[in-house]
């Protein structure tokens, strides 16, 4: 099955798009125009707050990570602490990144966050969307939608994608209070640590948390922190 094509939601434009583009610091290249998207991220978990959203519009030349490859240090930092500042700064230097933004705060279980991003390009075939947050009651988890093409989305159309959980593969999944930064733990966890001591130094699909409720004595987590995929739904509406 094709995971990200499960939900196809096409809606008529419900309201006139308010506002006009004011970001005039960039110069249009030949044949370029601005494309604007409203991104809505909904946390589908019971007990995994998602760190402030990282949203990137990019060409096919850039990717946040590759399954089976080692995570960048910037991604490791995001996955172990929820801090996306290094990741966004690093992405900003890449010629394949057309636009990026950070959400304003943690997205609680069941909650949503909406961001509007604008990317300048000559046509929509270049445009791809990546979203990343950390499920903060984990050691080094990532919730991500990876590089979905935006080419087929017309103005006023909306499409939803189901996102899954990944493991950065950079920190052992001990689930201890000293290593899990989220509110289910002590609040004293160290967050980022440059050591790489997971089962292997490579990004993989998260196996979920075991928790003390299910026999992992060292875990600070309870059954509430368990989740299943999809971990979030990401809705994209093209505004312009």
């Amino acid at each position: 099955m094709v995971f990200h094509k499960h939900l196809w939601v096409l809606l008529p434009l419900a309201a006139t798009v308010a506002g006009c583009h004011s970001d005039t610091e960039f110069v249009f290249g030949p044949g370029q125009q601005d494309y604007r998207y409203q991104i809505t991220i909904t946390n589908l978990t019971a007990g995994q707050p998602l760190s402030p959203a990282t949203v990137v519009i990019h060409t096919a030349d850039w990717q946040a990570f590759a399954l089976g490859d080692a995570a960048s240090v910037a991604l490791e930092t995001l996955a172990e602490s929820g801090d996306n500042s290094d990741f966004l700064a690093t992405a900003g230097f890449d010629s394949g990144v057309l636009s990026s933004d950070s959400g304003s705060g943690v997205i609680g279980p069941g909650a949503s966050e909406q961001l509007t991003v604008t990317a300048r390009a000559s046509n929509t075939t270049e445009l791809h969307l990546t979203w990343i947050s950390m499920p903060v009651n984990t050691n080094d988890g990532l919730a991500a939608l990876q590089g979905v093409p935006l080419a087929e989305l017309d103005v006023g159309q909306r499409q939803s994608y189901l996102a899954i959980g990944y493991d950065a593969g950079t920190e052992a999944n001990t689930e201890t209070a000293a290593t899990v930064p989220g509110p289910a733990a002590s609040g004293l966890a160290e967050g980022f640590n440059p050591n790489r001591n997971d089962v292997r130094n490579a990004v993989y699909i998260h196996a979920g948390v075991v928790t003390q409720a299910d026999g992992l004595a060292s875990s600070t987590l309870s059954g509430t922190q368990r989740w299943d995929n999809p971990i979030a739904v990401v809705s994209v509406e093209r505004l312009q």
């Binding site: 094709v2 995971f3 399954l67 089976g68 490579a202 196996a207 979920g208 026999g215 995929n229």
Partner: protein, 234 residues
């Protein structure tokens, strides 16, 4: 068209299609934390053939794959219906984090429009990954698919070391898993379900010298998908 479960009965009546990808690459990545794949079966076959139907009992051929990783009977049955099959592209187990590639060339076998992939998941009793009758795209390009874990429903999920022989209890334990799995578990309460379904996942425990399960909960659980497949049509 009603599909016929392979090896229960076989009907070869597919009409050739005009435009069909003659050759395509199938890249299979194991994105799990700690689950091994037994030898993979990658096959292009006619639409009226299928390896299994969810909700229905598994064939004995599928059972041999799901309980012991033995794909030989499935391969023989597929050869009998003119399928284009790549058996065991990884040359043995595919470890977590590893990737393998199979090139499928259907040549003049234009009826082989469907792609199916199966392999047993270890450690499980009768779990397997599956892509079941995907219509291979004809337009050149790269297509990505996420595969889920199924349970063949033929063996109780007791999660104990045991046998890969169909009908015998327990899990086969090849060398990479031998030093990792627990020993002396009492057995997870379970019985054979009787039909193919989405696997409920491993239970496991953290007791390596007892407990209910020989599976390790911190290593051998998963959340779907359990495989990522990239098909490149040339």
């Amino acid at each position: 068209m009603n599909r016929v479960i392979l090896a229960l009965a076989v009907a070869v009546a597919a009409a050739p299609l005009l435009s069909q990808a003659a050759e395509f690459d199938v890249e299979i990545h194991n994105p799990t934390r700690g689950i091994y794949y037994t030898p993979l079966l990658v096959t292009a076959h006619p639409p009226d053939v299928t390896l299994f139907e969810p909700g229905s009992p598994a064939s004995s051929n599928l059972q041999a794959m799901a309980e012991g990783g033995d794909i030989s009977a499935l391969v023989a049955a597929l050869n009998g219906v003119g399928a284009t099959t790549v058996a065991n592209p990884a040359g043995g187990l595919l470890a977590p984090g590893a990737t393998t590639l199979a090139t499928v060339n259907t040549d003049s076998a234009t009826a082989n429009t469907q792609l199916s992939i199966v392999a047993m998941l270890l450690p499980t009793n009768d779990g397997f990954l599956a892509l079941n009758n995907l219509e291979v795209p004809t337009e050149p390009g790269t297509y990505t698919y996420n595969l889920n874990a199924y349970d063949a429903g033929t063996e109780a999920n007791n999660e104990l070391r045991g046998s890969g022989t169909p009908g015998q209890a327990g899990m086969p334990v090849p060398p990479p898993l031998d030093p990792i799995l627990g020993n002396g578990g009492s057995g997870a309460a379970s019985s054979a379900e009787g039909y193919v379904h989405i696997h409920r996942g491993n239970l496991g425990d953290t007791n390596l010298i007892g407990g209910a399960s020989d599976i390790v909960s911190t290593l051998h659980r998963w959340l779907n998908p359990v495989a990522r497949v990239t098909v490149t049509v040339k």
